[in-house]
Amino acid sequence: MAHITGGWNPLGEVFFRKLELYSMDRSWQELAKLEKFKVAAAPYGGPIALVRDESKMTHIPGSTRPTVYIYTSSGREISQFRWNSGKLLDMGWSSSEDLLCIQEDGTVLVYDIFSNFKRNFSLGQEARDTKVLECKIFQGYVGTGLAVLTGSYRFFVINNIEEGHSRKMVEVPDLDSPPSSWCIICRDRHTQILLAKEKRLFLVDYTDVHEQTLTTSSPVNAFIEMAVSFDNRLLALFGDTGLLWTGSSDLQKVYCEFDTKSQKRPKQLAWCGTGAVVGYWENLLLIIGPHKDWISFNMKSEAYLIPEADGLRIVDSATHELLQRVPVVVEEIFNVGSIAPGALLFEASKEFQKKSQKADDYIRMVMAKGDLPLAVDQCIEAAGCEYEPATQRILLKAASFGKCFLTNMSPEKFVNMCKMLRVINSVREYHVGMPLSYEELKRLTLPVLIDRLILRRQWCLAMHISRFLKLPEAEGESRILGHWACYKVLQKHIADETIAQDIKSKLDTAPGIAYSEIAKKASECGRTQLAVKLLEYEPRAAEQVPLLMTMRDQKVALTKAIESGDTDLVYLVLLQMQETMPMGDFLMSLRNQPMAQSLFMQFCREQKPTLLTDLYYQNDDFQEMANCQVADSFKITDFQQKTDKLNGAHDNYTKARNEFAAKATEEQNKLLGYQRRLEDQYKVAYIGKSLHDTMHELISKNMSKLAEQLRKEFKVPDKRFWWLKIDALANSGDWLELERFAKSKKSPIGYEPFVEVCMNHHNKYEANKYIGRVAAENKVKMYIKMGSLEEAADLAFQQRSEDDLNQVMRQCLGNRALTAKIQGMKAQMYSKK
């Protein structure tokens, strides 16, 4: 094996290397004479689109329409399609790997990598009217953006092609011809266009235009080419005198001014990561470092440059190469004579495999400085930077060897790197053709990688990767299977039944499958039956129900909604049903869905009370109807309506076989009649009061006769009537009447209540009149109530009741004399026992 450093080219203090990623597939080699084609390649090892460049061909009138070819980075054809729209101006890729084809009239057609047309959008009227002269696709802060220069020399920009529309940039004064060159700079969530009008530079955005002053060491007539680095922080300008200026993209810092001695405009100017600018002329590739150092390569055939975050890919008709700065760790390990810990460990490992005792010497050297953990890390990291699996392996071996000498090193880093390299190597594989670097994968993230594999219909590989990395099922397996199923339903030549079964059998074990998405796809392409079948499998009601509704399967939708327990979903279906069905049918259809009916009733209760009674009527729910009528009777003020409602309620209660309620309603009506007469007669409000309150009021107003009449009419039990009357009399202070009442006959409730009501009005004098008639066992309590504690104590003592004595004692807090007396009594009682 040639030494690794063999292909390294020094550029100042650092090295650059060119690695061959692929030798291109034969189909590419046969087709791709790149000088004849327009090329568009997606970053992150994405697909490459080719279309014959008509401007470079002698125009044959009536010639056939061009074909657009889409290839993987390894040169395998993915798809092709005949271009049959307007004049194709340019192509480019979005961040979700959609091919954007920009027409001269400002229409953008979007295709996926399998040449399926997805949608189109327009860049606006002005672009249509004045034609698009030039266009550039860029990665903005929200997504993929697009900028065009129109025939009126105005710029229009879309920041995110997924949404939004084009906005006009501020016009550059006196721009009456296309600018010498221009580019887009996205910094700090801000999109700007830098353009050169001869040698004057303007920075343009939506609101402003600024002229930038840039002084160069040697004079320049015009900047004819410019390039922004992948991270938008660096800028390279190429002047017509051959001067190459590099600096920060805000033009504040100058890094280098280099004379290329070529006045010809380079075919392409691009940044290689952030370390160098690469200019490409006919046969020459010139790499210019920040300190005027340079390397040049001769190019055998026409090539195309694709800038990446950490390098630059060069593709020509035969090979696909990567130009990158040799990563620092790799340099430290492999550079000749390096004594970095990683280099020593690597040597040690090599010697160890040769079974040479030198291994020990090397390892001791590293350990002496305590650098072993660092050395292991370096080897792991370097493995991540290498493309050749063999190199990766020896580096990892070295790391593993070093790890043996460390007791408490976490294996996580090592294991992760091994895993990641397996993943990266598998997607770099020729037939997949995604030459990602480890750095890029980290930026892209694993879910996006899985997305891209899904996009390429690499189901199997995606599944293997997500299983291998134990990705959560929702992100990995289930999602992949979901997409696979969506693809599957599009295969129209297979019968619904078979597809449903295929899908079910594959997806059954995977949790969290969005069956609704698959069903939606099926529904979209007109396979309703299949969609319904698939929806059966959907566990999430919130997804299932709306789709069922769009397919007008309300009955099933309602059942599913009810099963879910989510009442909001039930309402969703109910509302649609209510809108689409005649009211009668709708109400009927609720009959065998009690839960839905209850919910609808709940809605009616607040919003449509009349509908509620209809429902009760429909269900023969007389009890509820009566309840409603009772409720209504209390809301209405008109007397006649009130009694009508109650009569209705009475009928319904009778129908509901609720005899008690029926009778009570009848009585209520009767009571209302009395109350009305009373109101007429005495001009006092009675309606709305209960029987009790009415009688109470009558007695207080000295109309006991009337009360007596009501009592008879409504068969008020004696006990209650006595309580009521006593209370009413005491309330009105009619003590005379109270006494008379007490003596009228034997009280059915005893005489305690008399004492009580008197005391409620603090009338001890009156209370005394009744205490004599109180039952013996309650007397003590009554005395206490009256505040006659002495008597209470005496009586309790007489009755030899310790409980009563205690009760009295609790009351006489602060009354020392009495407390003492009671204690005396208690003592006496004990002694007698």
Binding site: P511, R540, T567, D568, A631, L724, K785
Partner: protein, 627 residues
């Protein structure tokens, strides 16, 4: 400020933190200065999550209660007025509120003129399609910049208590068969599982328990593959449907906290008390003006003393308070022994703690006095005695004299109904004649309108015509009534009702030891299906029990979810079980609402007419009418 939440086995401070973060995410969606318009019902719950200063940090400059009409925001640039860029409505998804919201938006917009304001609405805890539709109908949906939801469902009340505070839940589920709130319950349980791990075992009793359990299992199927991988911290979920145990909330709670709730009502751990007792006696100013505002006190375990006495039987609170007083004064006396500078320094460091304890002691002594005023009342004692008779199954089949008397005296209806329902439940219903008699007494005394409320109670099963007699069997098998309760140093949960052990808690107790197998007979007598489900836990997440774990680690954790409400006394009983030395379970309590017999019955009753004069708070009237 939420340290009291992190004291339990399950750290609920995490729960609060999540809720806070979600709230701030909602607020931060609205860029610029904000005014929040509150649904009155939500202010209490939000107080448990975020304090005003936190809202202020996120540019909430003003807060208003939700009322019809223009919001009192001075538009434009009047002097001194702040410019409010965003109006945020935080409301429950209720249709009646939408009209108020719409009205407020329209009028405010008119008044704002050319000054531009953005309107946002966040539904708590969930968005509702019906509400959105209503807003569209009212023509303001388009005006709203954001229509979002803020899933504040379970509120952390204490280190072991979560409540959803949905007062309508019970009524909606049982009277109107609207199970919307049960979906919220299931969602809340899913959130608990997302945070504290999947709960391996689910038990339950009652129709709604079954419904919730089914919904959870369903939601888990829906989630499949998307769950957070968390090691299970909760071992068992026990769902108890309130209708399984209708008796317990009817009884008067006799724990300290329970009594405070019965008498004054605790809302979101706050209680408002008459201020007179809390006036600090100041020697210098003999005549201080009496404050008229009620005194607001926060009741949670951050108050050390309260944590000790809250669950005690009220009869044991007095002795505890005086013991505490003695300790405090002893500690205070230590200053006299402090001779050296070091001693003094040590004393001084303890001083703030002593002072805080002293203040707390004073507060609780005052509260205890207030409570005692009530419990000493004859009517309280009589009512209690009647309750105990019913619970013992004594004479439950006859017309009860005390109830009759209460009706005749026109005591508050709720008090009467509470006793009546209790009699009905303990007798498994009335003989038709007795039932009709009671109903007649009530409609004649309190008004005919209550016939609908009585019907409601009947639907729930609180009142009914006699059916199969089961109560006495259940009472005996589960030892619901216990003689000779030791209120001071209880050894059984029955102390919380001085002799009655809540059926719900007994079920939990039996589940933990020896298991429900042993009481299958009784479970069959209790209405509603029995639920038993197992949820598979990924092998890697199983708890690894190693030999030599301390006792407390071996204690399993059960989350008891009371669907339809839980009383403070029941919580006390569960805590009592958690704190048993050899107790097999530690309990975490969650509920749709903290209830007591009073507010529970109130929520079931139909509000047909404006309440008449006699229907005030249970406590205030029982006393005043007799005094």
């Amino acid at each position: 400020m939420a340290t009291h939440l992190s004291g339990g086995r399950i750290n609920l401070a995490v729960w609060r933190e999540v809720a806070r973060r979600e709230l701030l995410e909602c607020l931060d969606k609205c860029v610029g200065s904000k005014a929040i318009v509150w649904d009155d019902h939500l202010t209490g719950p939000f107080g448990l999550i975020a304090e005003y200063s936190l809202l202020k940090e996120h540019e909430v400059d003003k807060m208003f209660p939700l009322r019809p009409g223009r919001l009192p925001i001075s538009a434009g640039s009047g002097q001194g007025s702040m410019i409010i860029q965003n109006i945020i409505f935080l409301v429950r998804p209720r249709l009646d509120l939408m009209e108020i919201v719409a009205d407020a938006i329209r009028r405010t917009e008119e008044a704002a003129g050319r000054f531009h304001m953005e309107f946002h609405i966040f539904f708590v805890p969930r968005k509702s399609l019906m509400c959105e539709k209503k807003l569209t109908e009212l023509g303001v949906y388009g005006t709203l910049t954001t229509v979002g939801e803020y899933t504040l469902d379970l509120l952390p009340f204490d280190s072991d208590v979560l409540s959803m505070e949905m007062e309508q839940s019970f009524k909606e589920c049982y009277l109107q068969n609207d199970l919307t709130t049960m979906f919220y319950v299931a969602k809340a349980l899913m959130k608990i599982q997302a945070l504290y791990g999947i709960i391996p075992k689910i038990y339950g009793k009652g129709t709604l328990s079954k419904h919730v359990a089914d919904t959870i299992l369903r939601l888990r199927r829906e989630m499949a593959g998307n769950e957070r991988q968390v090691q299970p911290q909760i071992d068992t979920l026990l769902l108890i449907d309130r209708t399984v145990d209708l008796l317990t909330p009817l009884a008067t709670q006799l724990t300290y906290e329970g009594l405070i709730d019965e008498i004054y009502g605790i809302h979101n751990t706050n209680v408002k008390l008459p201020p007179e007792k809390f006036v600090r006696k100041n020697e210098n100013e003999p005549q201080q003006e009496l404050p008229t505002e009620p005194k607001k006190i926060i009741l949670n375990s951050s108050d050390e003393l309260f944590a000790v006495i809250r669950d005690k039987n009220f009869n044991a609170v007095g002795p505890e308070l005086s013991r505490k007083a003695k300790i405090l004064s002893a500690q205070y006396e230590e200053r006299k022994d402090a001779k050296t500078v070091r001693d003094i320094k040590q004393f001084v460091t303890k001083l703030p703690h002593i002072q805080a304890a002293k203040a707390s002691l004073a507060t609780h002594t005052s509260i205890a006095e207030l409570v005692k005023e009530r419990t000493d009342l004859e009517s309280f004692m009589d009512s209690l005695q009647t309750q105990q008779e019913f619970m013992n199954g004594v004479d439950t089949d006859k017309v009860n004299n005390y109830i009759e008397e209460c009706i005749a005296k026109r005591e508050p209806l709720i008090k009467v109904l509470r006793l009546l329902c209790m009699q009905s439940v303990t007798n498994n219903g009335f003989k038709p004649k007795i039932y009709d008699f009671y109903k007649r007494e009530i409609t004649q005394t309190y008004g005919f309108e209550h016939i609908v409320s009585l019907n409601n109670l009947e639907k729930i099963g609180l009142l009914k015509v006699q059916g199969q007699k089961t109560y006495n069997t259940i009472r005996k098998t589960l030892r619901l009534v216990v003689e000779d309760v030791n209120e001071q140093n209880p050894h059984d949960i029955s102390y919380v009702y001085s002799g009655y052990a809540p059926l719900s808690v007994r079920l939990a107790q039996f589940l933990a030891k020896p298991g429900w197998r042993s009481i299958e007979e009784v479970l069959r007598l209790i209405p509603g299906p029995t639920v038993e489900e197992t949820q598979q836990i990924p092998y890697g997440l199983l708890k690894k029990r190693t030999i030599g774990d301390s006792q407390s680690d071996n204690q399993k954790v059960t989350l008891v979810f009371f669907i339809g409400g839980v009383t403070y006394a029941e919580m006390a009983a569960l805590r009592f079980l958690s704190n048993q030395d050899d107790g097999p379970m530690e309990y975490l309590i969650a509920t749709t609402q903290v209830i007591n017999g009073h507010n529970w019955l109130r929520s079931i009753m139909e509000d047909l007419v404006v309440p008449t004069f006699s229907e005030k708070e249970f406590g205030s009237t029982t006393g005043s009418r007799l005094r």
